[in-house]
Each structure stands twice: as C-alpha cells, then as structure tokens.
Symmetry: C2
Subunit: 351 residues, 2 copies
C-alpha cells in the first residue's frame, strides 16, 4: 500500500502556538490526543515549552511547584565537560526535564485546518505533574470523554485520568497507573462487562519496554495485568513498543495503531489486531512498519526519525490518523482500513 | 525500649527444609507471610533453592518452564573474569536468578515451634512466576485469606494474588500490580467502602524506591495511586523503603511495620502510623529503626545485615513479629504495642 501524507503536512507547528507566558518559548507541539466531538475534530496538543535562556552557560528549567501553584524557573550552572541529553538535565542529585508540557485544544471542521486555544487548556496542577503532562489519549464512552496522559515528576512517570463532556471544563480523576507507566490507551467500550486498557509498564529488573493489558470495573482501578506483546528481534520494533492510538473496533478485531522503536530511537507505527472478545489475544501484527519516518518533518526536528501517534478518528473505512513528527510538529495521514489490514500478518488463530 | 529476641532464634533454618527435589539444595528459608488460622500460627515460608552444582566453572540455574509445566535446569558457562551478584546471573542477553523460590507452609500452636510441610505448598505455575514466587503477605478479610506475593520472570517483577480458606488449596487470582512492583500489603478491612494496599513501584526514570498507596473496589483492580512516604536523607531508610507486615489496626491508627535500607543494603524495620480513616496520611514514622541487624544470624548469612518482615500477628497489646534474617532463616520477636509506639514521632496532625 502507498501511504499518502496530507499535502500540507505538518498541519500544526510551533509557530502556531502562543507561549503560555512571555518568558517562555514553545519548542514543540506534537503527540496529540484525538476526538470527534459533535461536528468537530478536537486535538489535545502536547505543547512543550522552556524558559527563554540567553545565557548558554546555564540551564533554565521550568517546573510546577505545588506550594505556590505555579510554574517556577530554576537556573542550573552547566558543566562544560558534560554532554547533556536534549530532554533531561541531571544536576547534582536531581533530574529535570528541559521542557515542561501542557495540553492545548485545537478544533477543526475539516480535520486539517485547526483553530488553537491561545492559552493552556489543561496545565500541570499537582505534584505528580510537576515536570509536565504529556501524550493525551482520548476515549469516548457513553458521551464522556476520558483523557489519560503521562504525568511526569520527581516521583516518576505515572498515568493520570481526566474527564470532560465539553472540552471546556475537565475533571481530574486521579492516577490510574503507578510509576513508571505510559502509553496507556483505554478501549472505547466494555468487553464482557469489563473495561480494558493497553499499558506499558517499566521494569528496572528483567522486563523490557513491552505492551501489557489490564482490566477495570470502573476505569479508575486496574488489574489482572497480562503481558500482551513483546519486542521483535532484529525488527523495526526491537527496542521498545507501546500503545499509540486508542483502539477502534472493526469486524476483524480491535485495531491498535502502536509505536515501535529500534535501539537507536527510530520510532515507526504498526498495527496490531486484537481479538474482539478477548482483547488480550493478538491475532495479527505488523511485520514491517505501517508508517516510517520519511518526510523531512519526520526525519528532522527536536528528535528526528520519530513518528508517534496518540489518536485517530475511524469512521467506516476511513481512518484519519494524527501523529507527532520528530517531537516537534503535528501531521496527518488519511488511511483506508483495507490498506491498513494489508500491512498485517495473521500470527495467531482466534480461539 | 529493649528489643528482646526470642531465645531460640532463628526458629526455622534451611536445615529444617526438605528440598523439593533430590537434585536441588535449599539455600535459604526467610521472609514468611503470617496468619493466625483457627488456633494455629501459619507461616508461608519463602524457600529458595538451587540445583546442586559440582562444577564451579558453570552456573546451574533453575526456572519454571510453562511449556512443560516444570522447573528446568540450565547450565551456563561462567566467565572467569566476571564478578557475579550472588542473586542474579547475567548471561549473554538474558538474566536468571541464582535461586528459585516457592512457598512452604509451617504450622504451630505456640508460635515458636513449627511443623513444616515436606513438599512445596505453592509453586511457580505460570510465565509470570518462572523465576520464582517470593515474600508472601497474608491478609484475612471475612474468613478468606488473601495472599499477595512477588512473582519474578523475564517479564519483570509483578505482584500476584491468591486466596485460600484452609491453607490446603489455593486459588490464583491474577496479577494485581504490573512490573515492577513488590512489597505490597493489603489492609485487612475496607475503609469507607474501599480496600487499600501499600505498594512499592519501581521507576526507571525519576522516581525512587518509595512507598505508595492504592485503592480497590474488589482487591483485583487497583488505582487512585498516591505517593505515601519517601526516603529519609542520611537516615536508616535513605536507600529504599517498602511495606513489611500487613498493617494492623490500633486506636492510634494503622500500624505498618516497614523496611528501610541504606544504599549499602543494611535492612532494618521501622514503624509508620497511618490515619485510620485516611490511610494515605502518615501520622508518625520511626526516626530510628525499631529493629536493626544485631544478632549473628541477622548480621551473617546469604545477605548479611538484612532484617525483612512480611507479617505479624497482633492480638491486643501483643505483637508476634516474624522476619527473614540475612535472607537465610526465620526469626521471631514478641513486641508490646506501647513499646512499638514509643519508637515513633508524630510527624503530621490528623486532618
């Protein structure tokens, strides 16, 4: 199949985003959560910002301080002899992110041309979110839109839940997956009386960054964890995998657009087909990426060679997929379900 | 307060344990889960075994193989130039534990003299348990005894749940905390309609090995995770902390006997007092250890300077505490509640 990128990609870049405060600059807008709300496409954009810094001998890092309920800026003298990761500053005994992220809503009638909120739509507001909130996934269940996202802080990376029915006011529900866990995607309906979610726990012992599935009676408490899918040796998804878009239902099974990366951090997207009634059973999985970094805005950017999706709108045969490109901008691809299913190989009979 | 160890400590040593098979040797019996069942004290002992090895140029490791539903033995050529951790063998791309653990029930009328099952009472039986099952905690709720334990495998360290009402047959309930998570202790009753558990997630990013608390409607699914207690700088519990015994209720609050270790792995026990109605609020906490390694069987052994508790029987003012000593044997201390509470300092007013 041919992947035809939307002609005006990227559809949103950092130039389109007003910083949340005058002394901040936007360094990326990417990894949007996606919903169809009434007749509009809604994106919850991850906006990464950092304090403007005119002195290269210092790091200037911003983080949310619960004591004063605001983002504060800290200045840290750089060590000339040290190489720094573009994402993390390790200083003395503490780690900081080089940017702090919040969510900005973008709305569109046609799915390509978006009007973006001038101000943050959801901002860090508790200690678990002090390093920022990242990578929203939106699941509609019975008219309520549940938003799960990574909340980063010195306590680790947790997955938090919020909900809304209007995308104007949002209710924080609490932490649904404890550290470290990210790339959570909640299925849009109960299966045999239970909610299900894909998740990607972190193991500092023997485990690898692989996909698990959990069940829940109430969307808040999750258990009966099962390992769903592992890394594929010598493949495009040999380094780490995690849920991408919220799964959507087809007659063939649940379609999960997931991300896979190699050890050298090339992030591609592939497909998993999960059994409709037993979503912990993988029926089929991409042997080759569905989408790999090829366009210049995917190959070059804050983190080049990265394609990372958090959501898609699936309507009949049409799938409108949104993704972060190079941790810097937002792009869109219109896919056809039959084309997508061509990409996968039946790995296991439905039992 | 004076800590008086039981005069015949350690009460159980590896000499008391029959290996589960002829080609295995027991290298430790420690960290017992504890329950009072009818008129008996019951311990679920962690029995660590390894294949007998007569060739020091090889590692011989045992692990559960789901395909053949049995423990298998693998021989791995040692690298002469490599230093090996006594607990873990890293070979090629894979990690193995040097021992594989199962649970053995021990029963006693007086709490000191135990009759120990000849054969494993609970053994590894699924892929999540392939490296063994460790450190049981037993919580009685309405006549059912819930046993949570660490299940180790190449997928990581998870916490699994089993249940019994007779300590003869056991039902596996599934995984309640995903990788990596251990040191889980479930409260023995609902608080304001919810179950609660202490847990110790692992963070490979910014978090430290600290104690969290979660809630559940059904003991299987857990959420609304909150950070409960952190490390104390320059203290006995500056390296890692985690739940020890199952919390027990007193008029002053829930008493949690927890473990704290320094960076150089000296494990001591201390006390946390948690608010009766809001168990996520720490009222008081040990500034100095309640019990530190002092006896020879605590200072010397498979891992010297380790005291590690998974359970206690609290009846009125009397607390019978069982603990693993030096990852090798089981010891007992009779404590008095007033003495224990002397050890703690009020850190926070109840709100």
């Amino acid at each position: 199949m041919a992947i035809i990128r939307y002609k005006n990609n990227p559809i949103i870049t950092m130039k389109d985003i007003k910083p949340s405060r005058e002394d901040f600059e936007v360094i990326g807008v990417f990894n949007p959560g996606v919903a169809k709300f009434k007749d509009e496409y809604i994106l919850l954009l991850r906006v990464a910002e950092r304090p403007v810094n005119n002195d290269p001998s210092y790091h200037r890092v911003g983080y949310y301080d619960e004591g004063i309920n605001s983002i504060v800026i800290e200045e840290l003298k750089k060590d000339k002899n040290k190489l720094y990761d573009p994402r993390v500053v390790n200083h003395a005994d503490k780690s900081y992110l080089t940017s702090v992220s919040h969510f900005r809503a973008a709305r569109s009638k046609d799915g390509y041309n978006f009007t973006i909120d001038d101000k943050p739509t959801i901002s860090p507001t508790n200690i678990y979110e002090s390093y920022g909130i990242e990578d929203a996934r939106i699941t509609e269940i019975d008219g309520i839109y549940y938003i799960n996202y990574s909340s980063a802080s010195c306590l680790g990376i947790t997955t938090s839940l919020a909900s809304t029915n209007d995308f104007i006011s949002f209710k924080r529900e609490g932490i649904i997956f404890c550290p470290d866990n990210k790339d959570v995607a909640i299925f849009p309906e109960k299966i045999d009386g239970k909610y299900y979610a894909l998740h990607r726990p972190s193991s500092s012992s023997f485990g690898k960054p692989e996909m698990w599935i959990a069940e829940s009676p109430d969307l808040m408490c999750w258990g009966n964890h099962r390992h769903l899918a592992g890394l594929m040796e010598d493949s495009w998804d040999s380094g780490r995998i995690g849920a991408g878009a919220v799964p959507f239902k087809t007659q063939y099974g649940w379609v999960e657009i997931y991300h896979g990366a190699t050890a050298d951090d090339r992030y591609c997207l592939g497909i998993m087909l999960l059994d409709l009634k037993k979503p912990w059973v993988v029926i089929a999985r991409s042997e080759v990426p569905l989408i790999k970094p090829e366009a210049s805005y995917e190959k070059n950017g804050f983190l080049g060679n990265v394609i990372f999706a958090c959501g898609a709108v699936a309507e009949g045969e049409n799938i409108k997929l949104y993704y972060g490109a190079a941790d810097e901008s937002v792009a869109c691809i219109d896919l056809n379900l039959s084309d997508v299913l061509e990409n996968i190989v039946i790995t296991q009979k439905v039992t």
